[in-house]
Amino acid sequence: MNNNKSLFVIALILIGLLVLSGSAFVVKETERAVLLRFGELVRTDYKPGLYFKIPLVHELRKFDARIQTVDSQPVRMLNSENKFMMVDSYAKFRIFDVGRFYVATRGDERNAVRLLAEQINNRLRNQFGVRDLHEVVSGQRDELMAEITKNLNETAQTDLGVEIVDVRVKRIDLPPEVSESVFQRMRAGRELEARDHRAKGAEASERVRANADRQRVVIESEAYRKAEELRGAGDAEAASIYANAYSKDPEFYRFSRSLTAYRESFKDKTDMLLVEPDSEFFRYLKDPGGK
């Protein structure tokens, strides 16, 4: 009896909990929810909190309220130079009208992502098609992206009930043949630079060497000048000394110097003198009287 009663109470509690679980639901800060009654929208304006629904009649669909990502696959695009490039972009969006979003995507978020990816790629294609590589890479990326974002918002907000927060190009890759031409150009540029450096080195080297050679010549010729001046000064001093001494008796100088000269001039056996015996020297050779 007691046991039966308590069992019954426990069963009742469990059933109550089950019903509660089927009817009570919490909409979180991170969620958007729509309530459907037999497939048609009843309510979409849920703030975060606790709500109730009638089980089996109402169906609840929840969507992410946070900022989400559209990460599309890299797409081949032509630029204005008719060169292909692989463009990988992403977009950030947020559901702001969950009812419209539910209707547009038939409750499947992946549909929204696919649609957005297509639209983003179309817009990127249009924008990149009229720009060359340089403009795409280094040009007004910010302006370009802001324009695409704004443009996309106009349709996305009305059609999909989502707000596009941002569209960004992640990466732009060149196909192999284009890469190769870029590499060629880079190599050529480097070779130019290398040659320039070597030429500059040669130039600087030549300049330094020539300057050194010039200095050498200047130093040596200057030294020669000084040396000659010194020698001249020496010669002058010697001359004045000689003159001072010899001018005391020029005749005697002539005499004694001549003697020295004779002595210096004839001192080799190979020198041949033809002498006449009547010179002063042989005065006594023939005649002791010296007549």
Partner: protein, 383 residues
């Protein structure tokens, strides 16, 4: 229970987002002890005992409720570590962000997400990208970041980590795309990192990720492998440039001192010459002056003496041929070529040749003189 079994492993039906609500072990311990105590108070008694609860014999509702209430109460305890924050949703609505300590929130009503706020995490991105001058560069970038705003990190963005990766990729490529290749690989590396950091933070704030970027490091930026050779050659060329200059400088450093040395040598030699010339002039002058003094005392004799000495020296050191041509325009043949043969040849030859030649000459001269002259002529050859 349908959901949320006690023990923390929170499997509630409105799942979504990451959860990490494992209560710390000491809490489990506490819970178990409490249960044991309760069992000691109530559960140990036989069901048909009189007393205590008063409604003996009937099902102990109060006891069950008390147990449930205690279990529920204990279940709501959780601990937030010093480096964590806990974001609390009450019935799905943001309620508060709790800092470290022991907290209690009603289970099933509140939903708690803990995030580590101080751990600095690293995001690394690598790849080839295009620069402003349409070149390709290989870049490795490291981003260090931490969660700055737990509420945003948990509630505002679907996948904060993926958002960070994508934003990093995009920001880096944007910045690199507005720099020249040389700028990226050498001069402006810090600038690239700084610009990337600013831009990345902008994106992260726009996507409300709650992430704060601490440091952006451009750990590597170099030319692609395909053109590395050409780049290396530029480095080598720079070294060559320096080397050539150094060699030239070395040459200059060698040549100029040597020239200076030679210049000094020339000067010294000139000085030496000057000293020599002046000294010999002084010497000769002094000698002359001394001689002159004596000469003036006895001019005739001195002059005679000097003359004779000199001629004697000259005569004794040379070859002589005495020729007496008095009263004769007689033809005299002197084979001067023969006589002079000795000159220019070696001394040994001279010694061999000279006597014969001189003999011969002397002989001829003597013969000639004898045959021709009335008075006696002699020729003599002295060696």
């Amino acid at each position: 229970m349908a959901w949320n079994e006690p023990g923390g492993n929170n499997k509630d039906p409105w799942g979504g987002g990451n959860r990490n609500n494992d209560g710390p072990p000491d809490l489990d311990e506490l819970l178990r002890k409490m249960q044991q105590k309760l069992n000691g108070l109530f559960g140990g008694k036989p069901s048909d005992s009189q007393g205590g609860s008063g409604n003996g014999g009937s099902f102990p509702w109060s006891l069950v409720l008390i147990v449930l209430a205690v279990v529920y109460g204990l279940w709501g305890f959780y601990q937030v570590e010093a480096n964590e924050s806990a974001v609390v949703l009450r019935l799905g609505k943001y309620h508060s962000t709790e800092s470290s300590g022991l907290h209690w929130n009603p289970p099933l009503i509140d939903h708690v997400t803990k995030v580590n706020m101080t751990e600095v995490r690293t995001e690394r991105t690598t790849g080839q990208m295009l620069t402003e001058d349409a070149s390709i560069v290989d870049v490795v970038l490291q981003v260090q970041w931490h969660i700055d705003d737990a509420e945003s990190f948990v509630l505002r963005v679907a996948d904060p980590l993926k958002s960070l990766q994508e934003a990093t990729d995009s920001a880096l490529r944007h910045v690199v795309g507005s720099q020249t290749l040389n700028g990226v690989i050498s001069q402006n590396r810090t600038q690239v990192a700084a610009d990337t950091q600013v831009r990345l933070q902008e994106y992260l704030d726009l996507y409300i990720t709650g992430i704060r970027v601490d440091v952006v490091n451009l750990t590597d930026a170099k030319a692609p492998r395909e053109v590395q050779d050409a780049f290396d050659d530029v480095v080598r060329a720079r070294e060559d440039e320096v080397r050539l200059q150094n060699e030239a400088q070395a040459y200059a450093n060698q040549v100029i001192p040597v020239a200076r040395g030679q210049a000094q040598r020339m000067l010294e030699e000139a000085e030496a010459y000057k000293s020599r010339v002046v000294a010999s002039a002084r010497g000769e002058a002094a000698r002359f002056t001394a001689l002159l003094k004596e000469y003036q005392l006895a001019p005739g004799v001195t002059r005679e003496r000097m003359y004779l000495e000199t001629v004697q020296d000259v005569m004794s050191n040379t070859s002589k041929v005495m020729v007496d041509v008095e009263g004769g325009n007689n033809m005299m043949y002197l084979p001067l070529d023969k006589l002079g043969q000795g000159s220019g040849t070696s001394a040994a030859q001279r010694q061999q040749v000279s006597p014969q030649v001189v003999d011969e000459i002397s002989q001829r001269v003597i013969n000639q003189l004898r045959t021709e002259a009335a008075n006696t002529r002699r020729s003599r050859e002295v060696r």
